[in-house]
């Protein structure tokens, strides 16, 4: 009875006005998402089904013929070799199964295996290129790399102009440690419209000859034809590739070349990879963003952020997929792609209202957005939005630095604003240089960032970076700035406390001025 009594009372007093208050809903209502990735993969599979050649049984009389030609290519004199290679290529897809077997047979002599790799590149069908690519992708361990076959495969596959190779070659580049193979891969990617190997080429160019023990050891006749100076070591070949790109893209120097790529000056870059087979590879990579283990996700993310407009548009579509991890990591890819991904701006703006991905979408817009993005971000600073999103929007606005930033962020600098938001707003204003010198808004931003150095409640390093950026734009006396820099030599947390005190002194002095 004792247990029932309160219930009876509730029933009897049933006026609908009592009881537990409604639960706090942390997540806003979900938008509708769908199986975007699966649907597109199915569509492209159907579209490409007609083009896929099913492996056929090798005609009994063909196998000895292929083997004979391969033997000639591998061991005969130059003139005969050329004729045999041409004839092998002429056999087309029919020769692929035999060539694939010869390439991967570790019992075969290296010359034959190398000849098989070259012949597969000459055949140039998706199936033959797939064999080369798989061989390159699989060569990760020391055992698989006890010879230079992976390097030959890299050079051979790079002779193809098949756009669909681009995503997988990008991933190969991520793990490649052999400098000559790095050059082959970067060169191949550039020919496919992706100048994404620049950073890797710079590493090779800067490396001392001692840093790459394999340099110069390659036999001259095995060098891929794509490189103009076959006998040059990796560093020289990297220089050749960089120089060729510089001339082709009309750049004054290699730094300008890097800027074209990093800043997404798309109109000056070669046409991007495209086509249904390429799109399918991109969608397959997007599907990997949904994997549980971050190792696979990280590979997919790396691959995708090396791509261009076509992939960015696909990533924009993936922001509507039902899998939250696909959406989240797609937004991350676009953020890291930066201006090359600006075709996805409107999709990212829509994703701001995704309760789980909105903050990441805001970050991406901060890297690639235009005026529309700035407006959308400013709208989402409103108090009815979640704090995660508002904070991310304030940071992103700092990166975009629209002209009206001061008035947009000023309302959120006060002590009554949530700490994370007010700190993000302060950092955004100081980093962007949009706070008018001497204004109360500037002072509020400085005070807030300085408080963040020692509060222990917000990230001090970003506050410090914002103050550094702001001071760099101030017309302060050199000796004053030297004091600030000198404090930076001290260890944390002493440094942060000293810099917070320095800012307070500066503010007092500024106010008296």
């Amino acid at each position: 009875v004792k247990r029932l009594w309160p219930a009876l009372l509730v029933v009897s007093a049933c006026d609908g006005g009592s009881g537990t208050p409604p639960p706090v809903t942390l997540l806003a209502a979900r938008t509708t998402y769908g199986d975007v990735v699966a649907r597109n993969l199915a569509r492209l599979d159907a579209e490409l089904a007609g083009e896929t050649v099913q492996p056929e049984a090798i005609a009994p009389d063909l196998e000895p013929h292929v083997l004979g030609l391969l033997e000639t290519v591998a061991h005969a004199r130059d003139a005969l070799r050329g004729i045999a290679a041409e004839e092998l290529a002429g056999l087309g897809g029919a020769a692929v199964p035999v060539l694939a077997r010869e390439l991967t047979d570790r019992g075969r002599d290296l010359e034959t295996r190398r000849a098989a790799a070259e012949a597969l590149a000459d055949v140039g069908t998706p199936e033959s290129l797939e064999v080369l690519l798989a061989s390159l992708e699989g060569a990760r361990t020391a055992v698989e790399r006890d010879n230079d076959l992976y390097r030959v495969c890299a050079g051979a596959v790079g002779r193809s102009d098949a756009a669909w190779l681009a995503p997988r070659l990008s991933l190969c580049l991520k793990y490649e440690i052999d400098h000559l193979t790095v050059v082959h891969l970067s060169d191949s990617l550039a020919r496919l419209g992706l100048v994404s190997g620049l950073a890797a080429l710079f590493v090779v160019v800067r490396a001392s000859p001692d840093a790459d023990p394999r340099e110069g050891r390659l036999e001259p006749q095995l060098e891929p034809q794509a490189l103009e100076r076959p006998q040059a070591p990796a560093r020289s070949q990297a220089e050749i590739v960089l120089e060729r790109l510089r001339v082709e893209l009309g750049c004054a120097d290699w730094n300008e070349l890097a800027r074209l790529w990093n800043d997404g000056v798309l109109e000056r870059l070669p046409p991007p990879p495209s086509g249904p087979r390429y799109e399918r590879e991109v969608w397959r990579t997007v599907a990997r963003l949904g994997e549980w283990q971050l190792r696979g996700v990280d590979d997919a993310r790396f691959t995708l952020l090396q791509q261009r407009e076509t992939a960015a548009a696909i990533l924009g579509q993936a922001l509507s997929d039902a899998d939250v991890y696909v959406r989240l990591h797609s937004a991350q890819c676009l953020a890291r792609m930066g201006p090359r991904g600006r075709v996805a701006e409107s999709a990212l703006i829509a994703a701001l209202d995704d309760p789980q991905v909105g903050a990441t979408a805001a970050e991406a817009l901060g890297r690639l957005g235009g005026p529309a993005a700035a407006r959308a971000l400013a709208e989402r600073l409103a108090p009815e939005r979640g704090l995660e999103l508002r904070t991310a929007c304030a940071r992103a606005l700092g990166a975009l630095a629209p002209e009206d930033l001061e008035s947009v962020l000023a309302p959120w600098l006060g002590d009554d604003a949530p700490l994370d938001l007010s700190t993000a707003a302060a950092e955004a204003l100081l980093r962007s240089g949009r706070a008018r010198p001497g204004s109360t808004v500037e002072d509020a931003a400085v005070r807030r960032a300085a408080a963040g150095l020692t509060s222990g409640r917000v990230e001090p390093s970003t506050c410090e970076a914002a103050l550094n950026a702001w001071l760099a734009t101030r017309p302060e006396p050199a000796e004053l700035l030297a004091q600030w820099r000198a404090l930076g030599e001290r260890p944390v947390p002493e440094r942060l406390a000293a810099r917070a005190a320095w800012i307070e002194t500066w503010r007092a002095s500024a106010q008296s001025r």
């Binding site: 004792k2 009594w5 309160p6 009881g19 990760r140 020391a142 990441t360 995660e388 940071r395 990230e459």
Partner: protein, 328 residues
């Protein structure tokens, strides 16, 4: 008529009893107002002991620890943010990978990350509507899947599932049995929120045994994972455990014998040498200088790198787990 009277009397008696009951019974507690938790510091008000424990834990330092800052390049490597400043586990669901958050990152893996439910209430050990956090008794807090969202990224929970500790029976132990033991061994005092692990020398010592025996012309050194319900070491690729030896009585440099570690992806050619739960690893010392006896030591490192890789100094850069002196 008498029946009607009796019924009326009974009803009157019941009504009187009901009135007395209503006056006597303790009123149901007023439901607490729904409180939105914006910081784990709010929890300290009522849960001071737990909060103080958590503040000393590595979970609390997952964002601020200088080692993490260095290895993540001050979190410029954004992939680290997911687990070092996660959104609530129950928001993404048990066993699902956690999502990164944009706010209060300095609080690291905090109260909210583990306890906040999507409905705003807190996962706890009791149901109670009358307090600010309105806890809901949640058995899932005991489930290793709770830890999996972060700690299974490198397979730790899967390793546990394959161990004898996951088999129901006398040996059964899950994550919290070792990493969140009862305070002072007393269940009525609740579980410790220090959540110790690889930073705790006692836990490391309990995880493995080090043995050595004389063999033809040398020594066989065995390391056995006797106490960890997962690989030794586990979880992070930055963790390593190194076996060293030197001639008995020598104060000279240690000589490297074996490394237990799961390498980074880019370390092409290295394989995973972590020691699974219950497994034994054998190493041999055949150096002539070992003939008169050896000192063997197992060290645990929080980062895989040595200040001077040519001359590693385990005494200075690691935690000693076990030492052994072997004489012929």
């Amino acid at each position: 008529v008498s029946g009607v009277r009796s019924l009326a009397a009974a009803l009157l008696a019941l009504a009187t009893l009901g009135l007395l009951w209503a006056l006597w019974v303790e009123p149901a507690p007023e439901p607490a107002p729904a409180l939105v938790f914006e910081s784990s510091r709010q929890c300290a008000e009522c849960h001071a002991e737990v909060f103080a424990e958590w503040e000393t834990s590595w979970h609390a330092q997952s964002w601020t620890d200088p080692e993490v800052r260095a290895q993540s390049n001050d979190f410029q490597n954004a992939d680290c943010i997911d687990c070092h400043a996660p959104r609530p586990i129950l928001e993404t669901g048990l066993g699902n990978r956690v999502l990164p958050r944009s706010t209060r990152r300095v609080e690291g893996v905090d109260c909210i990350a583990c306890h906040q439910r999507p409905d705003g209430r807190m996962a706890g050990t009791v149901d109670n509507d009358s307090v600010a956090c309105r806890p809901v008794a949640s058995r899932e807090l005991l489930d290793p899947q709770y830890c999996a969202g972060c700690h299974d990224q490198h397979g730790t929970v899967q390793q546990w599932r394959a161990s004898r500790f996951a088999v129901p029976g006398p040996d059964f132990k899950n994550c919290i049995d070792c990493h969140m033991p009862w305070r002072d061994g007393d269940p009525s005092r609740g579980r410790s929120h220090v959540m110790h692990g690889g930073h705790d020398p006692a836990l490391l010592r309990a995880a493995v045994e080090l043995r050595g025996t004389r063999t033809d012309g040398g020594w066989t050194i065995e390391v056995e994972n006797v106490g960890a319900g997962h690989n030794y070491p586990t979880d992070e690729r930055s963790r390593a455990s190194d076996l060293f030896w030197r001639p008995l009585g020598s104060t000279g440099p240690w000589r490297h014998l074996f490394r237990f570690r799961n390498p980074y992806r880019f370390q092409v050619g290295l394989s995973n040498t972590e020691l699974p739960s219950g497994a034994v690893h054998e190493s041999s010392i055949t150096d002539p200088e070992s003939a008169a006896g050896v000192e063997v030591a197992l060290f645990y490192k929080l980062t895989p790198h040595w200040t001077d890789p040519e001359r590693p100094d385990p005494e200075r850069e690691t935690t000693a787990v076990h030492r052994l002196e072997l004489r012929p």
